[in-house]
């Protein structure tokens, strides 16, 4: 599969009064053309920051370092504002978590969608093309909707509007940051279905950021599980969901209730504790304090991502075979992309 997005050695640090925070500590990710990658993790694991970093949208106080962030063979590191304006929306479109606030309440839907689309794909900014797309994402009475203001629409409708906006820009990659989290459960399923169908139809690459390892990650081709700013396990959907290896991945799957199982014996699983505050550099496995299977080796040194026999990668001492070679030794950062607009 042709490589569309490649992120290597992404690190994000945020200086604060209490010391430097490292919410992302060397993340490698890739999305192929037409592929769906789910990035899964708890709040605070760095998944949203990773997405923002790809589009150069990090908050001003955050520092970004990466060996490589490349899109369609072109480096996204150190781009100027003009270059970013050619990428954002046009090549990589973003769908946000909260559709209630993602649109400007002062403008009619049609006007603000057209404002965006006119810049990237002028031929799509016509009322005809817009209503066509709105109908395609399941919005009834699209003509009428285009004349309405955001506050007159429900959350589900607004998220469909966001998806329609993204598609009208005809991007190669859509980054959806928790696109269903803020919606009602019934609407969540609809939106997820819509994303999956549209992805299959348009062959757009999809990077789906979610905390739901069950249903949401289920529409992905590959899954990357993040914990404490690192990828701890990544592989095909089947490998991760059917046969999780990392204790954290297992813990996440145990947290999902299974229909039909009731009573005390099959109590819902949970992972004790919270994600540790990302202060200072790592000296050991980041998950050891919350891990039921922690052992002395976990406290000695950082843990590398190791390839398994089925091609997946796992960052855990449990799978340390004698003499195994890690995927990649931690490297010095080659390029500093500080000051990216």
């Amino acid at each position: 599969m042709e490589l569309l997005l490649e992120v290597r050695g992404l690190r994000i640090s945020i200086p604060t009064d209490g010391g430097v925070l490292h919410p992302v500590r060397g993340v490698d990710l890739s999305v192929g053309r037409g592929e769906t990658l789910a990035v899964v993790g708890e709040s605070g694991c760095g998944k949203s920051l990773t997405a923002q970093a790809i589009l150069g949208l990090l908050p001003r106080n955050a520092r970004l370092e990466a060996e490589r962030i490349a899109f369609d063979g072109m480096s996204l590191l150190g781009l100027g504002n003009r270059q970013w304006r050619q990428i954002r929306g046009r090549r990589i479109a973003m769908i946000f978590q909260d559709p209630m606030t993602a649109f400007d309440p002062c403008y009619r839907m049609g006007d603000q969608i057209a404002e965006i689309v006119r810049w990237h794909r002028p031929r799509n900014a016509t009322p005809a093309r817009m209503t066509e797309m709105l109908a395609k994402v399941g919005i009834s009475a699209p003509d009428e909707r285009l004349g309405q203001y955001p506050h007159q629409l429900s959350g589900g409708l607004r998220q469909r509007m966001m998806i329609a906006t993204a598609l009208l820009c005809e991007p190669d990659l859509i980054i959806a940051d928790e696109p269903t989290t803020a919606l009602d459960v019934t609407i969540q399923a609809q939106i997820l279905r819509l994303l999956a169908d549209l992805q299959a139809e348009t062959a757009v690459g999809l990077m789906l950021i979610t905390h739901d390892l069950g249903v949401v990650a289920g529409i992905a081709d590959r899954i990357a599980v993040m914990y404490g700013g690192e990828v701890v396990e990544t592989g095909s959907k089947a490998a991760i969901l059917d046969d999780p290896r990392h204790p954290y991945t297992k813990g996440l799957l145990d947290c999902i209730p299974t229909p039909g199982e009731t009573g005390r014996r099959s109590a819902l699983g949970f992972i004790p504790g919270v994600v540790p505050r990302p202060l200072g550099a790592l000296t050991a496995c980041n998950f050891r304090d919350r891990c039921a299977r922690a052992m002395p080796a976990c406290h000695r040194g950082t843990v590398p991502l190791m390839p398994m026999e089925d091609g997946r990668l796992v960052r855990c001492r449990l799978y340390d075979p004698p003499g195994a070679v890690p995927v990649r030794e931690p490297q010095k950062t080659l390029r500093n992309a500080e000051g990216v607009a």
Binding site: G89, R90, A102, F103, P105, Y149, H151
Partner: protein
């Protein structure tokens, strides 16, 4: 929107009714108007004559209705001191104040809104600090002081602009700056805080994530939101400029409404004071109406 306008017009009508009652009764609250008008050495008979002549002996509501009826016909009464109809007196003084107020407001808006936006784009930067200094100076300096400073600097030292009177457009520049400068800090700080807030909002993030231009982000999706509280405050400031420019008018020897009000109060010129009160109050009410309608145009969520 239609219903909103109707409701808002209703409120304005009520405000006008109440302000007319208050401006009418203020004359009576300040003591017996007949005694005051008759002067210190008047005999009781003379006072009684004046009382009957001006209708002060009739019931309050009758006096009020009579007065309102006259006002609605454009008859604002006759000045006891100037021995002249009030309407033409106002017609002479109003344009001076109106021109001064509009210029002062324009100066305040053109200076403080861009400064507020620039300060918000780089909070705590040098330019933000500089804007803060300007704001604090304007806020803490009474307008007679800034007027004198302007006269000294541009009038006396540089000799660029006239410092007294209302003869030409140039005569209005210094007083407009003095009056507008006083209103600038509030507008600037409000613009700044509103912009800082809106620039962090999700819809501006959307604009950025979809590659919209800086202008689209800052002005179309930023300033339009930040300006809404500014509209309300600027309106009040404008009303203040029209009604309370007494000091600036005095310093620059301008014969506006402020000056007329000040003189009329000293002369106890009841009819003129009433007319000025009514006009200033009505202007305030209409400005508030205009501000609400403008805000409803800016933000559709207000149109309920």
């Amino acid at each position: 929107m239609g219903m909103f306008i109707v409701k808002r017009l209703g409120v304005t009508a009520l405000v006008l009714l109440v302000t007319s009652m208050i401006s009418f009764s203020l004359i009576h609250l300040a003591g017996d108007p007949a005694v005051a008008m008759a002067g210190e050495r008047a005999t009781p008979e003379q006072i009684e004559t004046i009382r009957r002549l001006y209708g002060f002996d009739r019931p309050f509501h009758e006096q009020y209705l009579h007065w309102v009826g006259n006002v609605l016909e454009g008859n604002l009464g006759r000045s006891n001191y100037l021995k002249e109809e009030v309407a033409p007196i106002l017609a002479r003084h109003l344009p001076v104040t109106a021109q001064l107020g509009v210029l002062a407001l324009a100066f305040a808006l053109f200076v403080s809104i861009p400064l507020g936006v620039i300060a918000a784009l780089r909070p705590n930067s040098l330019i933000d600090r500089a804007a803060l200094v300007i704001a604090v100076t304007g806020q803490s300096m009474p307008s007679f002081l800034s007027s004198i400073a302007l006269i000294f600097g541009f009038g006396v030292m540089l000799r660029w602009l006239p410092i007294s009177g209302t003869g030409s457009f140039a005569h209005y520049i210094l007083p407009a700056i003095a009056l507008g400068y006083y209103a600038s800090p509030a507008i600037m700080r409000l613009t700044r805080s509103g912009m800082i807030e809106v620039l962090q909002s999700d819809h501006v993030r959307t604009a950025r994530a979809y590659g919209l231009s800086a202008w689209q982000m800052i002005v179309r999706h930023g300033l339009r939101h930040a300006i809404i509280p500014v509209v309300s405050v600027a309106t009040v400031q404008f009303g203040y400029m029209l009604g309370g420019s007494v000091v600036v008018e005095a310093v620059f020897s301008m014969d506006g409404i402020g000056n007329l009000a000040w003189l009329s109060i000293r002369r106890y010129d009841v009819e003129v004071i009433q007319a000025i009160l009514l006009i200033v109050a009505a202007t305030y009410a209409l400005l508030a109406l205009a501000a609400d309608l403008l805000n409803a145009v800016l933000d559709p969520r207000i149109r309920v």
